[in-house]
Amino acid sequence: MSVETIAAPQVTPTGQLLRVLGIVSAVCGLIIVGSYQLTLPAANANRRLALERAVFKVVPQAKSIVEYYALPTGGIEQAKPGAEAPVTVAKFYAAYDDAGKLTGIAAEAGAKGYADTVRIMFGYDPACQCINGIGVVSMKETPGIGDKIRVDADFQANFKALDVKLKGDLSALANEVKTVKHGTKTNPWQIDAIAGATVTSRAVGKGINDAAQFLLPKLVPNLEKLKVRS
């Protein structure tokens, strides 16, 4: 047998491989943690600003907001600052003017749209028991079609005094909020869909209906508690 040795390819020892991977991971870990710590305050401030902007858009007279939870058992409770909301509650925001008087309620609603959940913020006016104004929090709807809910003036007009009165016993809405086909809106609790963007329009209607059915029966009996900023 010939003992012709083929020049062995240069092999890096296992220890060195592990050491290099360890060093690279450590360096990268430091960079990631460092940048997370650096950007966290700014990112949190941005989130708070975005929330305030969304609330002020649907309750334009507002100057300050207080976060509350509507509990599934009925009743409301002020949110503890910095704490995560339990999943069973519905968050809402009581909006106050300069004098600390309640000017409106804002709450989030969401329902499955064409591409993903369409999340909106709506403003509830306790005086007329109606919804005045909505804003889109996030959506991935088709640009130019579904995302018209943000800009379409006729669609936005649905949310001037959209009726969400409660039944006499305050257990549910007197009339379900419903999205109807474009051009067939006859009642103040109906939403006129955008032609060609029915799925997204329906998601808005369903989101508002679900949120209002849960929130308003708990909120309306407790409105007195919210009248003045605590």
Partner: protein, 225 residues
């Protein structure tokens, strides 16, 4: 094309060459046709394209710099794993940075920021260039590539935004009566626009070659990273 010969002696012109390579001669979008996933997905508007391009530029420059700094110590057996860890690190950094700068941009770009990790342009540059050249040259080349990518994305994004939305950088161009060409902001519009630009560049190269300029640009396509 001498840009890839390591033995060049004139430092300054060579650095310039490194930098310009990605912007024109081997533009990642129109010549190498790399990184098409974000190119098609986020170029619905000029501002998205610019943000995406700059995010990619940062990731490219930073990871190529670090790869180049560590190039002698990284054994070839684990080089891909190392590059990916380095790239993923800077993608995470850029994601945090965007969240800190603007939530709207962060939401508009969505998962495509994270997907920069898998952009073949970035790994391609780390492997084909940064692993062989010193930090300055690697960083310059990567920055040029990134800016070339940004320019390419913006050229597509601007066309799609103008036709599909009637605006450029959010400014209305044709007034309220413009009927937007919605298909342009949908996925097919990305392919139409990309195809149209490639066609224009092909015509340009063809003309240049026929005029006897010797196709520097024409060669580029065969030099993919």
């Amino acid at each position: 094309m001498s840009a890839n010969s390591p033995g060049s002696t004139q430092a300054a012109p060579r650095n310039m060459e490194e930098f310009m390579e990605g912007i024109w001669e081997r533009n990642p979008v129109f010549v190498m046709v790399l990184g098409m996933c974000p190119t098609m997905a986020v170029t619905v508007s000029a501002i998205n394209s610019i943000s995406m391009g700059l995010a990619t530029t940062f990731v490219l420059a930073a990871s190529c710099w670090l790869v180049s700094v560590m190039r002698h110590m990284i054994p070839k057996e684990v080089r891909i794993a190392t590059y990916i860890v380095i790239i993923a690190t800077f993608v995470t950094v850029v994601e945090y940075a965007i969240q800190a700068i603007s939530l709207e941009v962060s939401e508009a770009l969505g998962a495509y920021i994270e997907l920069i990790v898998a952009n073949c342009l970035v790994l391609g540059r780390a492997e084909a260039h940064a692993a062989k050249f010193p930090p300055l040259a690697a960083t310059l080349n990567a920055t040029g590539m990134g800016l070339g990518f940004t320019v390419g994305l913006t050229m597509i994004g601007a066309v799609r935004e103008i036709l599909g939305n009637g605006t450029l950088l959010g400014v209305s161009l044709f007034g309220p009566n413009f009927q937007p060409w919605v298909v342009m902001v949908l996925p097919p519009g990305g392919f139409f626009t990309m195809g149209a630009w490639l066609l224009l560049f092909a015509i340009y190269r063809d003309r240049k070659a026929r005029r006897g300029g010797g196709g520097v640009a024409a060669q580029g396509a065969s030099h993919g990273a």
